[in-house]
């Protein structure tokens, strides 16, 4: 037995030709967050503290789809989601539909620790955030030029996109059909 940590910054159709200027900042953030988490575990911090610490750092990095850098809805808005689960006691907390909370993961933890509930969303979650005094910012804080372009491209193609995914991995946003579960449209 011993401590261990793993983290991700999203999966998808990441081309091997991804230019260094797009690849390196993400890898550097992963390395930094890994070092941060490993140091915290080495110092005796709990697993719960460490996963929150690391995800906050990833949320603050505009290169990843969470917090600052979140992708946009069809309305051009930000709706962020997060959840946390503590294996000891199986406590958990989750949030959806956040548009102003800087670190959604910490709000999820507050729901876990300070309410009798598991999951708050939209207006109720935003109100809880204000009650708890967590950091909030105008929605523009979260929106990047790159994500404005991605939304424009996705709208033109009438598609939704998962992280990093090119169009051959996307699906129409409307009219799911009987073949919705097959692999034919995922390349």
């Amino acid at each position: 037995m011993g401590w261990a940590i793993a983290l991700h910054g999203g999966a998808g159709d990441i081309p091997r030709t991804l230019p260094p200027e797009r690849r390196e900042p993400r890898l550097a953030t992963l390395r930094r967050c890994l070092d941060l988490g490993a140091a915290a575990l080495r110092a005796g911090r709990s697993a719960l503290d460490v996963v929150e610490l690391v995800v906050r750092e990833l949320e603050d990095c505009p290169h990843f789809n969470a917090g600052k850098g979140s992708v946009l809805t069809s309305d051009g808005t930000v709706e962020m989601e997060a959840s946390v689960m503590d294996g000891a006691g199986m406590r958990c907390g989750a949030v959806s539909g956040l548009s102003t909370v800087v670190n959604p993961i910490s709000l999820a933890r507050l729901i876990m620790e300070k309410t009798p509930h598991i999951y708050l969303a939209f207006d109720g979650a935003e109100a809880f955030a204000r009650d708890q005094g967590v950091e909030v910012r105008d929605q523009n804080h979260f929106i990047t030029e790159e994500n404005i372009d991605r939304l424009r491209n996705a709208k033109e193609a009438n598609r939704v996109q998962i992280d990093y995914t090119q169009y051959n991995y996307t699906q129409p946003i409307c009219a799911p059909n009987d073949n919705d579960d097959d692999n034919s449209r995922t390349g």
Partner: protein, 129 residues
């Protein structure tokens, strides 16, 4: 999506996941990330955080399934995670997981996944493909 799983020196596990969702998603859409058991799960055995196409991850209850395969089939973490990921439509899921025994796995059926891990014995990895 971003996520992190960890097991500390006392063997306690935790998982955290955060996301902006899908580009051009409908307003009000909820994905797998906040759905406990789908995108995020932890108990005394292991902790899992997923990324990818939320609708598929919810349908396949990916995070909880990894734990269930370990519990009920007795498989080690890496094998359990590989089995679950293989059962989800190709191109739709990635996950990171750690077990109470300090095992780590990072499995995906997409082209790549930005990922990193480290263990107490000195192993570390940062990778995309």
């Amino acid at each position: 999506t971003v996520g992190c799983v960890a097991v500390d020196a006392s063997g306690s596990l935790a998982s955290a996941t955060s996301t902006g969702g899908l580009v051009n998603k409908m307003a009000g859409r909820i994905g797998d990330t906040p759905v406990i058991g789908a995108g995020t799960y932890a108990n005394a055995l292991c902790a899992v955080s997923t990324t990818g196409k939320g609708e598929d991850i919810i349908r396949h209850t990916v995070a909880r399934d990894v734990v269930a395969v370990m519990e009920h089939r007795g498989l080690p973490l890496e094998e359990a995670a590989a089995r679950v990921v293989a059962g989800v439509p190709r191109g739709s899921v990635g996950l990171v997981a750690v077990s109470a025994a300090g095992e780590v796995t990072m499995a995906y059926n997409t082209t790549g996944m930005f990922r990193a891990c480290a263990t107490e014995d000195g192993y570390s990895e940062v990778a995309i493909w």
